[in-house]
């Protein structure tokens, strides 16, 4: 019996193909490889963020502070760049990862050591991190002119036909895939989501694993912070306001169960891609922008309904077993 997860992802992939097909009937160029490459690039940040959120959701937690973390880290990195344009970009990326890690670690620490539910912790830090961005920046923006050309262009450099941003996404996806399927920590993350009590009995340190998971989502938030700011070339307090829900929506559409333990890297990536395609396509197929919200809302509901369908319809089936025997 083949794994059920694969089944779900194939459906999602099919859904995406159909979606692209539909869009192509109204906008022929949409399915061109060059355009799809661009859609992938445009969705890269969301994919990265969705992966970070995924590991958190898998452990039955949630990180509502990712977008605020992104905003804060982005601002820090942008200000650093504005003040010291000589700092090389790789160093800035390390700084972004480190700042994000610290913010994630704060969440993780509160969840781990004080046992506060993650939704409460991150509901709090959601406002705290964004507020701190305001304090740190004094409310001022960092704009394109203050950023160094390297800062802005790093992710845009083409390498083997793809911009660096796309490559970063590909590397992150590969890393997550490796970690989630091939390492003890990855499997612990699943185990905790499936059955936290059993995990304790199996010798997994649930608290510490949750801490690690928040560190991961924090680092991802930080990385996304740099990528976001250098992509949209403006750092302000408003950056990615409310984006946390998009990230969660991508996970949900990707079949990651909010109850933990179920979901895969492929699902998260496809879920993000699905949302990315919608937001990319609506403007080009001349659907009034006012419809966009309702459409993505409906897509989320549809995805949940379909996922739940697949998840159920599993009885014990005593009779059939009896017949087979």
């Amino acid at each position: 019996m083949k794994s059920f997860l694969k089944y779900r992802e194939i459906w999602l992939l099919a859904g995406i193909v159909v979606l692209i097909g539909l869009i192509s009937t109204r906008f022929p160029g949409f399915a061109d490889p060059s355009n799809l490459r661009q859609v992938f690039n445009d969705t890269s940040i969301l994919m990265i963020l969705a992966l970070g959120q995924m590991v958190v959701i898998l452990t039955r937690s949630i990180d509502l502070s990712m977008a605020s973390n992104l905003c804060f880290t982005g601002m820090v990195v942008a200000m650093l760049n504005a003040a010291h344009p000589a700092i090389p970009i790789p160093v800035l990326i390390v700084v972004a990862l480190a700042v994000g890690l610290v913010l994630g670690a704060i969440n993780g620490f509160l969840v781990w050591r004080l046992n506060i539910p993650s939704i409460v912790v991150t509901l709090g830090t959601l406002t705290i991190y964004r507020g701190t961005t305001f304090v740190v920046s004094g409310g001022a923006w960092v704009n394109a002119d203050q950023m160094s050309p390297d800062f802005i262009n790093f992710q845009r450099v083409a390498f083997l036909g793809l911009p660096v941003l796309s490559w970063i996404a590909i590397i992150v996806i590969a890393l997550f895939f490796l970690v989630m399927t091939r390492t003890a920590i990855g499997r612990s993350i699943y185990a905790i989501g499936v059955n936290p009590t059993a995990s304790v009995y199996a010798g997994i340190d649930v608290g510490r694993t949750k801490f690690i998971v928040f560190c991961i989502s924090g680092m991802i938030g930080g990385l996304a912070g740099y990528l976001w700011i250098s992509r949209y070339v403006i750092a302000s307090v408003e950056v990615a306001n409310g984006y946390e829900l998009n990230i969660i929506a991508a996970c949900v559409i990707g079949g990651i169960s909010i109850a933990g333990g179920i979901g895969s890297v492929g699902g998260a990536v496809l879920g993000a891609l699905f949302l990315g395609i919608i937001s990319n396509a609506l403007p080009v197929i001349n659907i009034s922008p006012f419809w966009q919200m309702a459409i993505s809302g409906s897509a989320i509901i549809l995805a949940v309904v379909l996922n739940a369908r697949g998840e159920r319809r599993q009885g014990r089936i005593i009779l059939r077993k009896a017949e087979a025997a």
């Binding site: 019996m1 185990a191 009995y201 997994i204 014990r316 005593i318 059939r320 077993k321």
Partner: protein, 517 residues
């Protein structure tokens, strides 16, 4: 774990029949308290290689708590743990693992959405050269472990979710086997198993003994204890009250140690006054779980339902109680057709179902005892929707005291009660609805001998008052001792219905297993 200061402790060998044998694990002077409850007080226990030690005690005596201390899940407030004569600590489940201590816990604790192989190897999966998990070797090893346990029929790639309950239990055992354990703890492993699987488990325990492992075996069933265990330790109210070799000690003596008095569990003598049919079921079917179920329950009768675990008895009962939907069939109560769509409907009609899985379906952990008891009877303990606390308390008291509940107050969270005492709350809760028909699904699962007698006595009282009882049980003595008639189910269908006059155990077992006499 070697960093802890190590020091010799003298091992107690006072009554060991092999004075030369030294204990593999010794617990000395262990105490553990929870807020308001002293679970363990200055208890000691020794486990010897190649021997099975039975840990015996009433519900709430502290057995599971001790198991959790031995597996690093709880930390003792005081006391010493010695392994192979070295004092050590078990700060985490991982540390216990490292000492080769493994346990099958009272509540099955496994991972539904992971594969069988992963369930067995989670936390100690084989690694590849790069330090990543080697799935191929893991699956191979899983198959090997299952083979050695004679459970090769379990697919190592299957998701645990898709296994039957007994097979899940075997996976739990396989997990314990998969690490090279030196100390194996089994906390009521047989509670959810059928006869056949219990036999297989015992073979396994014999195998473990022969391999020189030290085994701790917890059960409330004396026949099992005497069959498999070599030595015993008895706990009462969190204290150790005796230990020794089973072959030197009679059951009555142990029971006296356990409860501090004589309990001779004989099933209550009843003078059944069987009346007209109360509940009749015909042609009841479910698309996938059971087919064409038909029987009658009469006034003042105890109808036993016997079968192997997974025969579908619980499913049928849940359908009668309105919890699962049926595809076909009719149910009538007192001659009137009923079609309950929810438990609320059936309770209103006068049929109650006392579920089998108490943690999941029975108690509401987080609410105090009295609120648990009054939950299905809220309509009676409130007036036009407004609660009347005094009535809730008196309702709760009258039922819990009759079942000899051990609790410090009725406002205590049920979650802080021991498994058996929770079961009493569960029974009290449904009895308090004053039903016409009560369906008890494994009513004495995990209940100690004294309370068992109380439950059985209570059942007898109920039918004497004119109630009708359906008792689903996998325990043969209970079925034979309590039922007026016995329905045997096999694979979702009724295999036979017997009158309990001169009925013998063998007939039942053969019918349940589908082996012709």
């Amino acid at each position: 774990m070697d960093t802890t200061a190590q020091r010799k402790v003298e091992t107690e060998q006072s009554q060991a029949s092999h004075p030369a044998l030294s204990a593999r694990l010794t617990l000395a002077g262990i105490s553990k308290s929870f807020p308001g409850v002293r679970a363990l007080h200055n208890v000691s226990l020794s486990l010897y290689p190649g021997q099975v030690t039975a840990l015996i005690g009433e519900n709430g005596a502290g057995k599971s708590t001790l198991v959790k201390i031995m597996t690093g899940i709880y930390q003792p407030d005081s006391g010493e743990i010695g392994i192979d004569g070295q004092v050590t600590t078990l700060p985490s489940a991982h540390a216990a693992f490292g000492h080769g201590i493994t346990a099958i816990h009272q509540e099955t604790v496994l991972f539904d959405d992971l594969s069988v192989a992963e369930n067995i190897f989670l936390g100690h999966a084989p690694r590849s050269r790069f330090g990543t998990i080697d799935w191929r070797t893991m699956r191979k090893n899983a198959r090997e472990v299952l083979e050695t346990m004679r459970a090769g029929h379990i697919d190592a790639d299957a998701r645990l979710k898709d296994l039957g309950i007994a097979n899940k239990h075997l996976v739990a055992v396989a997990r314990a086997m998969s690490i090279d354990a030196r100390i194996v703890i089994m906390d009521e492993p047989t509670a959810a198993l059928s006869m056949k699987e219990i036999e297989e488990l015992f073979l396994l325990i014999e195998f473990l003994k022969s391999e020189g492992k030290a085994v701790l075996f917890i059960s409330h069933k004396f026949d099992e204890i005497y069959r498999i265990a070599d030595r015993y330790t008895v706990f009462r109210d969190g204290e150790m009250v005796g230990e020794g070799m089973l072959k030197d000690t009679g059951q009555n003596e142990i029971v006296r140690m356990m409860v501090g008095r004589n309990v001779d569990h004989i099933f209550p003598q009843r003078e059944p006054k069987i009346g007209a049919p109360v509940l009749s079921v015909s042609g009841l079917s479910h698309p996938t779980e059971f087919d064409d179920i038909g029987f009658e329950l009469r006034k003042g009768e105890i109808l036993g339902f016997y079968g192997l675990v997974g025969a579908g008895r619980s499913e049928v009962m849940q359908a009668i109680a309105g919890i699962t939907r049926t595809s076909r069939g009719a149910i009538s109560l007192d001659g009137k057709a009923i079609a309950p769509k929810s438990a609320a409907d059936s309770i209103e009609a006068g049929i109650v179902y006392v579920p089998e899985e108490r943690g999941k379906q029975g108690v509401v952990i987080g609410l105090p005892i009295f609120q648990n008891v009054s939950l299905p009877s809220l309509a009676r303990t409130s007036k036009s929707g407004v609660l009347k606390h005094a009535e809730e308390f008196s309702l709760a008291r009258s039922y819990t005291e009759r079942l000899d509940l051990r609790a410090s107050s009725l406002s205590q969270d049920v979650g802080t009660l021991s498994g058996g005492n929770q079961q009493k709350v569960v029974i009290a809760k449904w009895l308090a609805t004053t039903p016409k028909v009560i369906i008890l699904d494994e009513p004495t699962k995990g209940i100690d001998i004294g309370s068992k007698a109380a439950v059985h006595g209570f059942m007898a009282e109920l039918v004497a008052q004119g109630l009708s009882v359906i008792m689903v049980s996998s325990e043969l003595p209970e079925i034979l001792g309590m039922s007026d008639r016995v329905v045997v189910m096999r694979e979702g269908r009724i295999a036979a219905t017997y009158d309990n006059k001169g009925l013998d155990a063998e007939t039942l077992v053969r019918t349940a297993a589908g082996i012709a006499a």
